[in-house]
Assembly symmetry: C2
Homo-oligomer: 649 residues x 2
């Protein structure tokens, strides 16, 4: 152990193990997680670390090797794909594998939208990996706007078949993971045509490749779309279907029937699988940001750079600017952790309501998950980059470990729904509830009896340490944004603009409103979660400081919103800022212990800067020597250099 | 030409060619730039586009091939390394080449800091590429804080040699581009020891590899540091020197002598080369952001997604949220273009002053370039990512072209000085000038006679269209931040804190102050530049709208700063927001024409989304088919898949 981190750990005022168990749910869950991780990391395939050195084809091949090992592990240990254990393994692989969409979208879509008969037929095949499927919805010319999809499934009454067709180049399926080279099946989202009429998007099971030799079936044009920022291991694909015929039974018909068309009660039911992914993303945002802060905080405790006083180079974590960058990231990671817990609870509740035939809760779940998906992915992507840059030059090296998190996670701002569109969808629900407050769900209860307060009741530093006072601030900010935007919308339509154009004209304010609402929700849920949890008094003190930082930092960050309505004044903002400085100081002593409580395995972080022992520089040197360019003292490409140096160009 | 872009271009209200020449400086300069580009892109080596497909070693080898071709081109066309022509070629390669530090740092350092005799000896060798050098300053454990560097150059009087030594692992040189495998020489920054005394950092020319067989010389441990976010073509390296002896003449001694030590008049003179890079980065920030906006704007004019009114899918550029993301990026690119021009002018002025022996101007240049380097790189990095995400899912594909810009440019936030440190260095100068207003340079003239205004003189929409009124707003914001921070600093020291600790305690406010100052400078310089330039009335109208957007958007973005002092009120902020919406509408009609005026060659953008003809989807499909995974219908890695599908794990 390097001395600086040892010193940091000795100073901590709380018990790290207590916080580890609290964040994992219980001591048993911590233990199980660690057991799963050890199974995974003991396999050398999962310790391979050369994906930035090798060609794209080799990286993809590694993805399949890892898939095989992971499947093997699950069979040996009897881990089901829909279990919490598998979800944990999924995160711990730290790399997307070509068959993940099979597990997290193909199977769940059949399970959620298939009839009992369909499930009996397809689930055993899929769960035993006799077939490998993906979820093909997005098209080359059509993304988040699902009604715009062009792929058609036309019912042919005579043969009792659907003819699935991509009539144009823009109608090609594009992006689905595993589609290019791996999967032999897909759930295809297509416009259903029956008896000459279009009934909108429904889901169809289509075989794409031969189960004998894996060759594409007739009428199927399929391939890899090429490289991306991340997901190098995955063959995101394109797919063109030229009047491919599938049996009537291949339309997923739990909620709608094709022949004499019966529509689903709630059309959003078709996108249930996507909603479940959005729910998961909230928790993922917490994990990613926690990992990034772990690296940055540990390295900042080891790293010396510049002097505060002449002759003294303290660890950079002593710099207020560094604390101001990093401690809010810790706080955000914890805030999103509790938001993720909330989302999973509400998701399970809605699922069981759907199971009982109550489909109305879908709308609420859709609204909340869309908003929080956008808010948490946006914020955490920015946060990872703040952590990376806080590591200075070395943050730019692959040895920092950030790139693995960042490059995949960057996609979350656009996949499963582009974030601006997500915000606007969530906002439609928000403004609907504002107009009909009786319909407002629990998360929007402040809309039921909106109380516009004129002034914030803050006069001293103590006041900004009060949960209720802080929650009120975020509630008032959201209310003020929502009500002024609603007024604007009304004015625009009053003066003759149609409602759709008015929505567009006011959309910048609408975005502000929904972001303010999401922020309010996260703050409130965070503080309520802390109040409900049992913990020792030293731990509570630490967790309180972190939660107060989250809220006060949010106010400072968006000071304009709080000031413009006159609800807050400049003096109060200065009290908030003074409080932030005080909290930074309070958190400083426990910063390393807090990130230790996130309890990441070094083999997960893969960071020379953020390893538990803090042995930064030796590890950087050791890893550098592994660069393939260092295999020889003079690289074979010297042949070009020699010609340049000898002027023989 | 795809119809949507044709339509956009027909609607433009100004002459694109006029703006192209204005941004290039003149018609001749436009022509020359295009000629250089055509020479470059006509060479197939510079059109190779597979760096995300091949291994790291192959990518590096490509870098050397390109180096050879570029050198060849320069020889044939008689282009000198220190010419504007070379700088243009440098940008147009769109890839860092392993010998760029030789050209932009090694040679300039010798030219700037060598004696006449040293220049006579080394420059011909370096310019003819008989030797290849890099600039080795940063160490494994020491970055922006140069005084902390550990490498020692100890003068041995008896042999008239320096003994250059890296005593510890943290003292290894780390990061210099081309150091690992390419260069055979380096300028090394080391602590000079003469007669037992340390005289701080000076620069030494050290040979690293044999000119015969390129093998590392005795005492030299050298290699590649491994992969990074970007700069894949470059062998950033590590270097350990074990008591390597170099002749006395190898210390660069234009400003300081080693034996009986004579210090330089201004110690910052040693870092002149770095300052020149920082100056260049301001202009680069403009280019990168202009390229990113070109891609995003063109694609947004082609792309349809979601309906504003039912049944109509307009181009996404009609969405206010999209305009609100993208048009400020155009405005910022142009603002930074003029800031870059300013920086080059002042840099040339200071260089000629230094040449005449007046070294005092270095401090000002250092302060301004540090602040603007941080401000423009931070802003443009964020802007590129805004543009990328505004392209939805396809922005995540390599075919979008963003990754090439982003991954290299991301480094600019930390290289040549980490941005927070840069801001704080610039702030030291700012607060020094605030305390001694007579010393304030032209860029800080508002500190000479600071006028704290109580209220903003804005009552109507017209008022926020006035350059002077807007400049005043930014001036007052900066003044208010600076003066309140200065007061805070004074209070802290008054109550007994030492000045260094006070600086740290107030550093969050200090950062705000210097950012506000930089923002003010950019706004003012932008508007003054427009006033000084000759242009037709239609063009002036467009350029005015863009400049007004830049300023009003900046106020909205930082509303809290303008509101908290009471200088602005909520009503005025709403006038600003209304103005922004009006400007977005005004710019909408010319958006495509404006980015056309940035005049990027398609072979520079390498973007399926942003090519001039707007033929987005066909190009995406064409490029996808080139993925190496598509060489066969069934990829060779099917061997793993078959075992999974047949349960033979």
């Amino acid at each position: 152990m390097d001395a600086p981190l040892l010193k940091e750990r000795e100073r901590a005022t709380f018990n790290v193990t207590e916080l580890i168990h609290l964040l994992n749910g219980s001591e048993e869950e911590t233990k199980r997680r660690k057991e799963l991780e050890s199974w995974l990391y003991n396999n050398p395939v999962f310790r391979q670390d050369d994906r930035y050195q090798i060609s794209r084809e080799e990286v993809y091949e590694r993805g399949l090797q890892k898939t095989r090992e992971l499947v093997n592990l699950c069979r040996r240990k009897n881990i089901k794909f829909d279990s919490l254990d598998f979800a944990r393994l999924n995160i711990s692989t730290l790399e997307e594998l070509p068959f993940f969409l099979h597990v997290i979208m193909f199977i769940p879509t059949i399970r959620g939208q298939g009839t009992e008969e369909q499930k009996r037929k397809w689930l055993p095949l899929a769960e035993d990996l006799k077939i490998l499927g993906t979820y093909a919805q997005t098209e080359l010319g059509h993304g988040t706007f699902l009604r715009g999809l062009e792929t058609k499934a036309t019912y042919d009454v005579s043969s009792r078949e659907f003819i699935v067709n991509s009539p144009t180049i823009t109608s090609m399926k594009w992006w689905p993971g595993g589609l290019g080279k791996t999967c032999n099946y897909a759930v295809i989202a297509a416009q259903l045509y029956t008896k000459g009429k279009c009934y909108g998007i429904h889901m169809f099971i289509v075989q794409l490749r031969s189960l004998e030799d894996h060759k594409p079936l007739p009428g199927v044009t399929i391939g890899d779309i090429g490289n991306k920022y991340g997901f190098h291991t995955v063959d995101n694909g394109f797919l063109r279907l030229d009047n491919v015929r599938i049996p009537y039974e291949n339309m997923l018909m739990r909620y709608a029937k094709a022949c004499d068309y019966i529509p689903p009660v709630n059309p959003k039911i078709n996108y249930g699988t996507m909603t479940s992914i959005r729910v998961d993303l909230v928790k993922d945002a917490s994990v990613i940001l926690a990992a990034a802060s772990t690296i940055a905080i540990r390295y900042s405790a080891v790293r010396h750079q510049t002097e505060i006083r002449p002759g003294e180079e303290p660890p950079v974590l002593d710099y207020i600017t560094q604390q101001f960058k990093l401690f809010p990231q810790i706080a955000t990671a914890i805030a999103f952790h509790f938001a993720g817990d909330y989302m999973h609870r509400i998701y399970d509740k809605v699922q069981s309501e759907i199971f009982d035939g109550h489909l109305s809760a879908i709308t609420e779940l859709h609204g909340i998950s869309a908003g929080l998906k956008a808010f948490t992915t946006d914020t955490s992507i920015a946060g990872v980059e703040i952590c990376r840059r806080a590591c200075g030059g070395h943050g730019y090296s692959n040895a920092s470990g950030f790139q693995r998190f960042y490059e995949n996670w960057l996609g979350s701002a656009t996949y499963e729904g582009e974030n601006t569109v997500m915000y606007l969808q969530a906002a439609r629900y928000l403004f609907k509830c504002y107009d009909n407050p009786k319909e407002a769900p629990e998360t929007m209860s402040y809309l039921r009896y909106p109380q516009n307060k004129m002034e914030w009741n803050v006069k001293s530093a103590d006041d900004v340490s009060n949960y209720a006072t802080l929650i009120t601030a975020f509630e008032q900010r959201a209310l003020s944004k929502i009500s002024s935007t609603a007024k604007k919308l009304k004015n625009l339509t009053h003066y003759g603009m149609n409602r759709n154009d008015a929505w567009n004209a006011a959309s910048v304010d609408i975005l502000h409103s929904i972001k303010a609402h999401c922020h309010y929700f996260i703050v409130k849920n965070y503080m309520q979660s802390l109040n409900h949890l049992k913990m020792s008094s030293p731990l509570r003190q630490v967790m309180t400081a972190v939660a107060l930082l989250y809220a006060n930092y949010g106010i400072d960050e968006h000071a304009g919103d709080f000031l413009e309505s006159g609800f807050m004044n400049g003096k109060q903002i200065n009290l908030v800022r003074a409080k932030i400085l005080q909290l930074l100081k309070e958190i400083r002593v426990n910063a390393v212990a807090i990130v230790d409580s996130f309890d990441f395995d070094d083999r997960f972080l893969r960071s020379a800067l953020g390893a538990y022992d803090g042995n930064v520089y030796n590890r950087l040197f050791k890893w550098a020597k592994l660069s393939p360019l260092n295999k020889t003292e003079v690289h074979s490409s010297y042949k070009y250099l020699r010609r340049i140096l000898q002027s023989k160009l």
